[in-house]
């Protein structure tokens, strides 16, 4: 019988719940940014991942990601844990294995949900469901295996990714970019977000949940977890303020959506680093996350692809910055690995490998999956023009976000 550490287990139960909660948070973050006639559709694209990804994960996703792949173990797991067979409730180390399954599941839920920000307001909902299954199986599970499973090639190379800078954010960011290109531009992109309070609500839930995301990724309630929470908060704060200042300097107004976006960019940037850097490193990572993605997002409209909610700009760019920054600012006393500044330039190699491999593999595989889905009769990536004009809420969901009394 397992002798779990009840404190670690308590914290991981909680972290798991918090990361789950991030997905409805994301639904509101994204839902507030689109037009009112696509609010439900946007929210639904995120929310449905809680249904689909959960099932993929317990049925075969976890096994592919964390099983022992034998000869292929550098690249992918196997099907030995299919349906979680063979994992007993008392198996595990300091925490139950089933809890690790659940915690990791929440990452598999939110990663594809992040992608949807690029394709909102025109992507076909039913095709997205199928995409979700394929993408988790063919893209997410392998990359997760590379980075976090013992024997994965990036794991063995020593690439640092504490809570998912590559696995979650760069992965989602590049997939979003590819998807935005393939689905094409929206016919009439909105100028203003339709509901700014929702954006802030979403950002608040994300910030809260991210403490589980990052401080839970050490799988224990200890000093490293406390440090992870503190640096997570610091990077979010620094990036939020920086982004707000950028908008003020440029326009003499402080954009609230900008502050919220900056917070998310900071949270992304600290994600790979949370177990390895101290507060000063977090400050620099945060400030950078308030500047580099800011300019990317600012100039994206001229770039010819319609990544509607700037998923690549925020998650991809800040994720790359964070992954590389981890190699720069890692402090041996925190996470056991020294970074460039502490005289360990080799670490940068592993970090660059992780970034590059994720960009290439996720980009190519996402491209192939979407191309195939586009060709299958009855599927296709895009809703018809009339549905897009009318709004996907009515056209694809038969629902309207807001219905007034009287003249509804």
């Amino acid at each position: 019988m397992g002798e779990f550490n009840s404190g670690d287990t308590a914290w991981m139960l909680m972290s798991t719940a918090m990361v789950l909660f991030m997905t409805p948070g994301l639904a509101f973050f994204y839902g507030g940014l689109v037009r009112g006639r696509n609010a439900i559709s946007t929210i639904s694209l995120s929310f449905v991942s809680m249904a689909v990804a959960s099932l993929v994960w317990v049925l075969w996703g976890y096994s592919l990601a964390f099983g022992d792949g034998g000869d292929l173990n550098a690249f992918v797991g196997d099907l030995s844990y299919i349906g979680l067979s063979g994992i007993g409730i008392n198996d595990g180390g300091n925490i139950p294995d089933l809890l690790f399954v659940a915690f990791q599941m929440m990452f598999a839920i939110i990663t594809p949900a992040l992608i949807t920000g690029a394709i909102v307001e025109r992507f076909k909902f039913t095709t997205y469901i199928i995409f979700l299954v394929l993408w988790l199986t063919l893209v997410y599970a392998p990359i997760c295996h590379w980075v976090w499973a013992e024997g994965g090639w990036l794991f063995d190379m020593g690439a640092l990714d504490f809570a998912g800078g590559t696995v979650v954010h760069i992965n989602a960011g590049v997939a979003a970019l590819v998807a935005a290109v393939l689905v094409g531009r929206r016919r009439r992109p909105a100028l203003e977000p339709h509901n700014v309070p929702y954006v802030v609500l979403g950002a608040g839930i994300l910030w809260f949940g991210w403490f589980g995301f990052n401080a839970g990724s050490g799988l224990a309630a200890n000093g490293q977890g406390a440090n992870a929470l503190l640096v997570t908060n610091t990077a979010a704060a620094a990036a939020a303020l920086t982004w707000g200042i950028m908008s003020y300097v440029q326009t003499k107004r402080v954009s609230t959506v900008g502050i919220a976006t900056g917070a998310v960019a900071g949270l992304v940037a600290i994600t790979p680093a949370a177990g390895f850097v101290n507060v000063m490193g977090a400050l620099v990572l945060g400030i950078g996350a308030g500047i580099i993605p800011y300019f990317f997002v600012l100039y994206r409209p001229r770039m010819g692809f319609d990544d509607a909610l700037d998923v690549f700009g925020v998650h991809g760019v800040a994720g790359i910055w964070g992954a590389l920054g981890t190699g720069v600012f890692a402090v041996e006393a925190i996470g056991g690995t020294a970074g460039l500044l502490e005289g360990n330039p080799e670490q940068m190699g592993a970090q660059i490998a992780g970034v590059a491999a994720t960009l290439i593999y996720s980009g190519v595989a996402t491209f192939i999956i979407l191309k195939v889905l586009d060709l299958i009769p009855g599927l296709g990536l895009r809703e018809p023009e009339s549905a897009e004009d009318e709004g996907l809420d009515l056209a694809a969901h038969g629902e309207r976000a807001y219905v007034a009394d009287g003249a509804d």
Binding site: L33, L191, S247, R253, V257, G258, R300, G313, V314
Partner: protein, 117 residues
């Protein structure tokens, strides 16, 4: 009978209502609309970084009262008192449109014409 429609700044609605009631015009309704006029629009953020765009439109409120012909001047002056910005007024203070109404019917009683106003 006349229909008086005034398009005003939303923040003046309480003053306009007060002035209308002061001249004995106690039946009217109002609604919010989006207006474009000589007054420029307003700069808003577009997207998540610092792009801004100048919208052509501003929030406006429409107030409408159907009145007897004799009340016309009182009502118009009341609206002007309530809606004009302090001093000589400012661009964007609004317009009043006067149209003729052929008939009014009170739902409750079926009365028609001036009796129904």
């Amino acid at each position: 009978m006349l229909s008086i429609e005034a398009i005003i700044r939303p923040e003046t609605i309480e003053d306009v209502v007060g002035e209308l009631e002061a001249v004995g015009c106690r039946k009217f309704y109002y609604a919010n609309v989006t207006g474009t006029g000589r007054q420029g629009g307003v700069e808003v953020f577009v997207g998540r970084a610092g792009q801004m765009t100048r919208r052509h439109e501003r929030p406006r409120t429409i107030v409408r009262a159907v009145i007897e012909d004799g009340m016309k001047d009182d009502v118009i002056n009341a609206i002007i008192r309530g809606a004009r910005s302090p001093g000589d007024g400012e661009v964007g203070d609004g317009k009043i449109f006067v149209t003729r109404v052929e008939d009014v019917i009170r739902v409750r009683t079926g009365e028609t014409g001036e009796d129904a106003i």
